[in-house]
Symmetry: C2
Subunit: 285 residues, 2 copies
């Protein structure tokens, strides 16, 4: 496995793949790889001739008061994991490599899809995501790119971007990977104290409860969200950012009673750590 | 030559080219093709295995009071000219094909490069240009894309976009093509009355004069711009939008005395018709 640090070297490697007609799978990450990322790399390994894992803590998707500096950076361990799962290239560029100009070129999805949920609490976040992912797509020229359902809104926004701009690739979104006790795997889980870690289980537990009530026939989105909200509010260490539900695809307002697929999503702070989790209520099932 | 109207059919044609390892030249146009476009198509024909000419009057690069509806549409003649010059495909989509969502995904170059010159008079223009050109690049996947120096700022903005987002292609910018009397070829020249047509010669005449003074040793950008301004102001049918000069590449403020390459550019109205023209003062020559 090669570790590539510059745009120029990655472009040369990709040009060689393209010349040989090799299919490319791209797994964009911010590093601090866990089993959630692992499931993406394994899927990419199975479905493509070559696998590129990018490891880049993208500054433009962090707000000024967010955890850019504190975000865990574990490149050596990331490379070991990527290699063990069969990646061919880890691309780990500097910020200057990815943002070569002082003025910036942005790729931005506008409208309600980026205004709700995390877009409301983090107003410049998705612009940073869509910009850096566009750059990675144009550098790696993947046939398939892999993202996790944990970042459900990110997945919807990127699907919209791929559709609107006509990126010639397939966007693959894979299920949330959870710890044995239900906590969604996240690079930010390392921030949690033992008590916060335990308290955070209310997210997966309340969402699973809502999904069970939905499967049993409850079709009031408001009632399901309210129950999740009450369970989280009962947890003293939790501070709710949002508990909301939107229609899939596209995150439009969900009409009551719920029909079709609905995303029920939460963002909750435990101390200084903001965690997200979600479940898809599959009305089309 | 094929005339393709849908995104899906273009994607299929491009996929076939890519499978065969065929190099692709793209000439993005808004139609109403003239010899300026012709020079781009001919160059693309010479340098690539396949040539795609897009003909799309892009609504998002027109402001609300601009000439979107009046813009000349001459698809049959455009196809004849493209075919005569050896194009393989004319891609002429509808606006709905190019903009499939109600909310929009934008590609935008920010900073002074889009704030000066036409960016000041047409604040949403370049966002429309960079967005539609990104879409065309991702659809046609060209090895080379061709633009005219007549739209000098557009060329600089697109170079910046290609650099920042890492589009895997070469951007080729070709010289302004002029009528025998010096008027820069433009699809908008058809709007001019006979009198306005004659008055508009002041643009090329004054810019050529400035270039001659520069070549003779004048290195004051302010003096050169002032002379152009005075000549245009002496023409009763002309109303100046701007007469300005900026350093190349990047359109940063040009320090006095001029060193390096400098763009001297004008935008002037004749009746309701806004024309642009420019000259590069080649300090590096």
């Amino acid at each position: 496995m090669q570790v590539i640090k510059t745009v120029k070297d990655l472009q040369a490697a990709v040009a060689a793949y393209k010349k040989d007609g090799v299919s490319i799978g791209l797994v964009p990450t911010m590093g601090a790889l866990h089993e959630g990322h692992g499931s993406l790399i394994s899927a990419a390994r199975k479905e493509n001739d070559a696998v590129i894992v990018s490891v880049f803590v993208n500054p433009t998707q962090f707000g000024p008061t967010e955890d850019l500096d504190a975000y865990p950076r574990t490149l050596d361990a990331d490379c070991e994991m990527a290699q063990a799962l069969g990646a061919d290239i880890v691309f780990a560029p500097s910020a200057r490599e990815m943002y070569p100009s002082d003025d910036d070129t942005w790729v931005e999805v506008t409208g309600s899809i980026t205004a709700v949920l995390c877009g409301r609490s983090r107003p410049t976040h998705f612009r940073g995501v869509t910009t850096v992912v566009s750059k990675l797509f144009l550098l790696a020229q993947p046939d398939r790119a892999y993202f996790g359902q944990k970042d459900a809104q990110q997945a919807e926004v990127l699907k919209r971007m791929v559709k609107d701009l006509f990126f010639p690739l397939e966007l693959v979104v894979l299920p949330i990977v959870r710890e044995a006790d239900g906590l969604a795997k996240s690079s930010r889980n390392v921030y949690l104290s033992a008590e916060e870690r335990k308290a955070a289980l209310v997210l997966s537990r309340s969402l699973a409860g809502a999904a069970a009530r939905f499967d049993a026939g409850e079709r009031s989105g408001a009632a399901l969200a309210q129950e999740v909200r009450e369970q989280i509010e009962a947890e003293p260490l939790a501070t709710i950012d949002y508990v909301e539900y939107y229609a899939l695809p596209g995150l439009t307002e969900a009409a009551e009673p719920l029909t079709g697929d609905t995303l029920l999503a939460v963002a909750v702070r435990f101390g200084t750590t903001r965690l997200i989790d979600n479940v898809i209520l599959e009305g089309n099932k």
